[in-house]
């Protein structure tokens, strides 16, 4: 398959690449005169944490929106498990098994943890109580929620407590648990450590690792360079609407990444 991808001409990482779980080829998105995505490529490999970094205006959020269905690219192709897909909205991407954790937007603070986890996907009681009276199965949602939270080792006892009573990191934990519970292919996280303290950031990074270790590849968009270098298996560097480099944190350092991000140093990918 690598013969059809632009990657085949590249020197970096061109050997023994397994088939990407999620792939973007030549994605373009223009807003009037502004080009947010300018033939952008992307791939997420099985079982990895891929960080997407880039300066403001590099097209990071446009790329992520295109992957999560929140934006329809003008041209280019998206492939999920090698199959071409088209998303007309976030619901399409969700149906295809891609879950996104949005920064700050993910939870309803006054609702309890179980209600938040199952928001929009409530489980109803079996039988007439569920079908006629639309009764939601709270005990089951609570026990399922507890199981999902335990899968990620999030130590919260009561699934009946309101999300607003939790710390920032724990709230993020609820959002991540929801994504991990329902994602079948990919989890995307937008700035998961923004506005968190040091300890909480560590906790969320561990969560992200556990999601990967449980078998789901994760895309993380982040400004937080130390965090990126701590957890990412690979780093996708976005600049001027394109992917300009793929880095491995073990083979590079933050200074180089920042230099590529800002254009002070060339990337390691040939311009498409």
């Amino acid at each position: 398959m690598s013969t059809e991808t632009p990657l085949s001409t590249e020197t970096a990482l061109s050997t023994e690449i397994p088939r990407p779980v999620l792939e973007g080829r030549g994605l373009v998105k223009r807003y009037g005169h502004v080009t947010a995505l300018d033939g952008c490529d992307f791939e997420l490999l099985p079982g990895e944490i891929l960080a997407v970094i880039g300066d403001n205006g590099a097209g990071k959020s446009s790329l992520i929106k295109a992957l999560s269905g929140a934006l329809i690219p003008d041209s280019g192709q998206l492939l999920l498990d090698g199959e071409p897909v088209r998303f007309h909205g976030p619901a399409d991407a969700r149906r295809a098994g891609i879950e996104t954790v949005y920064q700050d937007l993910a939870v309803a603070p006054a609702l309890d943890i179980a209600s938040n986890l199952f928001l929009g996907r409530e489980i109803r009681r079996k039988g007439v109580f569920g079908s006629v009276f639309r009764l939601v199965d709270k005990p089951r949602m609570q026990s399922d929620a507890a199981k999902h939270m335990a899968d990620l080792k999030i130590g919260i006892r009561s699934m009946g407590q309101a999300v607003e009573t939790l710390s920032g990191g724990q709230r993020q934990g609820v959002a991540v648990a929801r994504a991990a519970a329902f994602a079948r292919h990919v989890v995307i996280m937008d700035e998961p450590t923004a506005a968190l303290g040091v300890k909480e950031t560590g906790m969320v990074l561990d969560l992200i690792r556990r999601v990967r270790d449980n078998g789901l590849p994760v895309v993380v968009i982040s400004h937080d360079m130390p965090a990126v270098f701590e957890i990412a298996d690979r780093v996708h560097v976005q600049r001027l609407g394109r992917r300009v480099a793929i880095l491995r944190p073990s083979e590079t350092d933050m200074a180089e990444a920042v230099a590529i991000m800002t254009g002070a140093a060339p990337g390691n990918l040939a311009a498409a």
Partner: protein, 335 residues
């Protein structure tokens, strides 16, 4: 990634379970219920006629119209909206019912349905303007208040509609309960509160409604059709106002174009006294019932103790400001 880093930032210990007392204080309907019981206690000492079955039944009957409006108002306020037009919408609905039945030659049951459908349509227009045009609910329903009021006066030509068929006043009839008689209408109001409680607490639609007032983005991103949901809330509220119109007709026995002029504010008062946050997403419909009963008890009690009706309004006003103040302080604490 090495597992050592994973263990280094281990998950913090589980939250300490909140204490019983704290959990009890967090029950949002406790305040309104306490206020209601206190008011009852006071008036039962102040007047020996207060705590009688007949008077309790009378309070329920006086509350049933505003109470039913408050059910719809609660739903709207929980979405962080407000409905100023519900009293006027109800008045127009009651005129449609009575006019059609008396001088339109329409069968009474069909006239009732037409009246309820009118209120539902007004609700749907409100909801559509709020949702699709993204206009503030306050302004939309303020405009609708005037429109509905004008329509009422135009259709009625300032004439009270009398000589109603029996079916329209059926809900004003009573049945015996122990020593006293209770109106069917007040039972209907209690049933509506119970149904609303069930839907809000125990169905997905109800949970979404709470979430909508709390964080609409979260609901949208969870894949719920927020527009349909919001228009639905205003429309269902309209149906409830239509039922309130029927109760109004049943209570007064006429179609009165002057009716319900302050009922919009009374329904908001009931909702706010009941502890439902005007900022949406928080509170219980049961609280709105307590709020409606509280207003009813205060009015009734002051009447029995011979206090001028102006003071009833004064006290209600003070209570509303107190209730909103408490809500605001609670909000700031959470931040």
């Amino acid at each position: 990634m090495s597992t050592t880093t994973a263990e280094r930032a281990a998950t913090p210990p589980a939250e300490a379970a909140p204490s019983r007392v704290k959990a009890l204080l967090a029950v949002p309907t406790l305040g309104p219920l306490g206020a209601l019981l206190l008011a009852c206690l006071y008036f039962s000492f102040a007047s020996d006629r207060f705590l009688t079955g007949g008077n309790m039944s009378l309070i329920l009957q006086q509350v049933m119209v505003v109470g039913t409006l408050a059910v719809g108002q609660s739903a709207v306020i929980l979405t962080a909206g407000i409905d100023l037009s519900n009293g006027a919408s109800m008045a127009f609905g009651s005129l449609v019912m009575t006019k059609l039945a008396v001088s339109g030659g329409v069968p009474a049951w069909l006239a009732i349905l037409a009246g309820i459908a009118t209120c539902a349509a007004i609700g749907a227009v409100n909801g559509s303007l709020v949702t699709l045009m993204k206009l503030p609910p306050f302004i939309v329903t303020l405009g609708m208040l005037n429109i509905a009021m004008a329509l009422t006066h135009i259709t009625s030509k300032e004439q009270t509609v009398t000589g109603l068929p029996d079916l329209l006043t059926k809900l004003g009839d009573t049945f015996p309960l122990g020593q006293t008689r209770v109106t069917y209408g007040s039972v209907l109001m209690l049933v509506l509160f119970a149904v609303a409680w069930y839907v809000l607490r125990h169905t997905a639609a109800g949970r979404h409604l709470y979430a909508l007032g709390d964080n609409p983005d979260a609901v949208r991103l969870a894949g719920v059709n927020v527009r349909r949901q919001l228009i639905g809330v205003y429309t269902v509220a309209g149906v409830l106002y239509g039922i309130a119109a029927l109760l109004l007709v049943a209570r007064t026995g006429v179609g009165d174009p002057q009716a319900g002029q302050t009922d919009n504010l009374d329904s908001i008062t009931a909702v706010v006294l009941g502890g439902i946050s005007l900022f949406g997403g928080r509170g219980s419909i049961v609280g709105a019932l307590y709020g409606a009963l509280l207003v009813g008890v205060i009015r009734n009690g002051l009447q029995l103790t011979g206090v001028d009706s102006v003071y009833q309004i004064l006290i209600t006003g003070i209570l509303v400001i107190l209730a909103v103040g408490v809500d605001q302080i609670a909000r700031r604490r959470r931040k």
